[in-house]
Symmetry: D2
Subunit: 284 residues, 4 copies
């Protein structure tokens, strides 16, 4: 363990970029400088006193700032949504391999001469240890992991199921910004200074991660095919509304058919991630 903390503690994390710093110029091609699957380095495990199986770790992301003057985006061979991959196996030639070094600061991401994007940081990968498996940092699943949900930024609380003693929290993979689905396979990956606060919610046996912002509550599912990720997310949200907000099950199901919000985290990782949410205004 790299750190032992108490519930309620604030932790300042210096995350590395998803390439572990191995890409330093646009000439550093991923196929040359990376060794799969040893990518997407995480900070952790952070041990949280008192957390045990059946609890939930509430990870408040308080702030994020860049630790470098640039981020990196790459097209990696046989990785991404609009290409054959190792799983959607084809015989086509791969797409070109491309690296973009993207200047940025705490306000803006200067994508190109033409396009400047707002700096909208979020954490791509966040998890407590699973109970049985050890899962690589590219894969999201019921333990959390590489979910790539843009909603997981400053002001959000992520609820992670605790499955081993002291939770064993891992965090990393900061994105300066990311579109829905992370279609080319990578965001603007950057080293960040991220401040979190961790709380323990005792005896809340949730099956999948959940998230809360000032505006909404969101259940998160990760699976393939993509509709299964969406099914998990929506089922968990129905059950959450029933258990904690006093809705009848079928009323919740039919209501979400009228006002449910779906966020596509990624559809490029070994499992795809979907968030299903409802505005807090309808939960009052």
């Amino acid at each position: 363990p790299v750190l032992h903390v108490e519930a309620g503690d604030r932790v300042v994390v210096e995350t590395r970029d998803a390439f572990g710093g191995a890409i330093r110029s646009e000439a550093d091609l991923p196929s040359a400088v990376l060794t799969m699957p040893f990518v997407n380095p995480q900070n952790g495990p952070i041990m949280v006193a008192g957390a045990e199986k059946g609890d939930v770790l509430a990870v408040h992301i308080e702030s994020m700032a860049p630790r470098a003057d640039h981020g990196i985006c790459a097209m990696i061979p046989e990785f991404g949504a609009l290409t054959g991959t190792s799983l959607t196996a084809t015989l086509n030639e791969p797409l070109p391999e491309v690296v973009r070094i993207v200047p940025l600061d705490g306000e803006q991401v200067r994508w190109s001469e033409r396009v400047t994007l707002p700096y909208r940081p979020h954490i791509g990968t966040l998890s407590c240890s699973p109970e049985l498996d050890s899962v690589n940092t590219l894969t999201p699943d019921a333990h959390g992991g590489n979910m790539d949900l843009p909603d997981m930024g400053p002001g959000s609380i992520t609820y992670l199921p605790v499955r081993s003693p002291q939770a064993r929290l891992f965090i990393g993979d900061a994105h300066a910004c990311q579109g829905d689905g992370e279609v080319c396979g990578t965001a603007v990956e950057h080293a960040s200074l991220t401040t979190i606060r961790v709380d323990v919610v005792k005896a809340w046996p949730i099956a999948w991660p959940r998230l809360e912002t000032g505006d909404l509550i969101m259940a998160i599912g990760s699976a393939r095919p993509l509709e299964d990720a969406a099914r998990i997310a929506y089922r968990e949200l129905v059950l959450w509304m029933e258990a904690d907000y006093g809705f009848d099950r079928w009323d919740a199901y039919m209501l979400l058919s009228q006002c449910g919000i779906v966020r596509l985290g990624n559809f490029v990782d070994p499992k795809y991630t979907v968030g299903a949410a409802i505005s807090k205004r309808y939960l009052a």
Copy 2:
């Protein structure tokens, strides 16, 4: 044909609800009063002079208003996202069959004692005739059809590929509101007074429908599994940015990985519908 119009004409359409008016009370169960697949009645065909194969029909939705004081939402056996269906075939007992009559007006949808939703009308089903097949009104595909995209409301323009002489436009399936994915299988289905204006864009051979609002441009794909719908939508958007907005292909692909917007229309119909969009601010 029910109507012949010229390019630029405004048409006021009295749509019927998706149940064809057969559900009049919460005791009218779909399995008793509907005869599948004879549901989701459309208004049309509307023949548009001068439209021919290779053109695009631009359908401006100018306004929508309810034609009744209520809408209808239903849980239909083996239909919806969180149940076994005729395609995701299981041996489980079906979910309960439920009908909700939902009072509404041009401002509000009064879902329950507890929840009131804003009236956010849109058109669920919109298409020109396909070239070869005749497609039932439950299925979205490359011709458009039952896309169930909440973005298709007043102020939007939908671009439909024309594949037969005079386009043969069909429109129907007005929703008073709908959540992303239409998870229980139905929206608040209501009879509407919808005003559209149709234009013809000559010689724009698009493969799939597209949509434009004041804020964004969106490409639309419909397929199963859900990731294929998203792949189609994002590929079409990349090609659109390349053809009409001067982007390099790989620059567009990587940029959408940072700022692409995904909307899930439905994941309950025979094909699922996804829209992939980019804000117009990045197209300047």
Copy 3:
């Protein structure tokens, strides 16, 4: 209608190859000589007296023989299982376009200097008219259609749901041989002389096509993703064993987990086709 027959009649059909005869040499590339979706020509409709909605048409394939000294196999751009396609949309360059003219007779298919395959003819596309839609000849669905099941050869009986008066039978797409899944997108497509006998089974309201040989009974499902095709097929088989062979539902389900036979027809068409079967020896 091209023909009116009575139940029990024998019909000799001269099918054309799936390319409609447009490919005459290895230099005739599909992208140049075919006009999609106007391919896979069918013989029909054949009207069968007395068949009506709710009945089943039993199509006995009595014999098949080649009508030419060769068949044709092609790799068509963005078509096939190991390539990006119009639905699994990618930005990769397409695979090479290749045409193979394959000498054959009623005994052998001479694939190459190195490989000779046995002539194992079967019908790729077989259907009665759907009730509502008109479906192109590339797509299999609940009506039958382009199922591409190698089991549908001489000695087999295919049971097709009748959904319109006199059934409106279509037949075509003879294959000289085909592997499971038809992985490159085409079989050895050939013009055939096919003899069928049609019977009407009154009042057998099956939802999907079924097939019988001397050895087995098979239920057929067509859908995407592929597991949904397999789910449909297995569910229909469980229900068939329960309804007609005296099995308890859960006994049938668990028994098929021990001896069920799965055949992959195709995973290249707009919907994929799977047959789920059980040996007749376990039905005695």
Copy 4:
């Protein structure tokens, strides 16, 4: 490690049934006596001297015999192909939970009064350790694992990629018989006496497991959706024919479209398994 062996050694393994012996009567319901995911116990790791990353372990299954007079089959809540599951999440009530104790010997599996099946034993789960992750025994993947392929019986050779020093072989999950797809979720699970011989093939860097019998060679893929498992298997088979049997890539691809054999291992596990094979007679 439980055992250290040399290449060429014969090992006699006493496998336990997939329930770890916890089900002793038809009243022992899985939900009561099992603790997920602690099921499907494996024998291992068996360390094979000289095996290192980049090699292949060839596991010859020489013989299998039952170690008990019965096997066990179960329907487990939210597990199986024809039910909503934890991943294909639905709100339907689960199917009934059922346990069957099935008498058997080395010749026959006495399923019921009505049906007797032949004893066709095979190994359900077989793997070397993955490089990075530790994977639960329910999940098949590129390392092998819970593939549930009926072809993996006596007389077969399974080729497993070695990814860590001395291979770390695990074996278990013997089935007395199993149908294609293992549709209800379980086979006739039984304790077995299995004799294997292990060889090391140096420097054969295969990406996925492969299998060989007297009649065929088979590449194996595990993924969701099911078509991705089939794509992996067929791509690996094309590459295998190209690398080791002198076929041109496109000739192999088109030939498999005529004579490829597809076996569905399971479509119930966290990933689904497909084998794609070709008869050795076409490889001469």
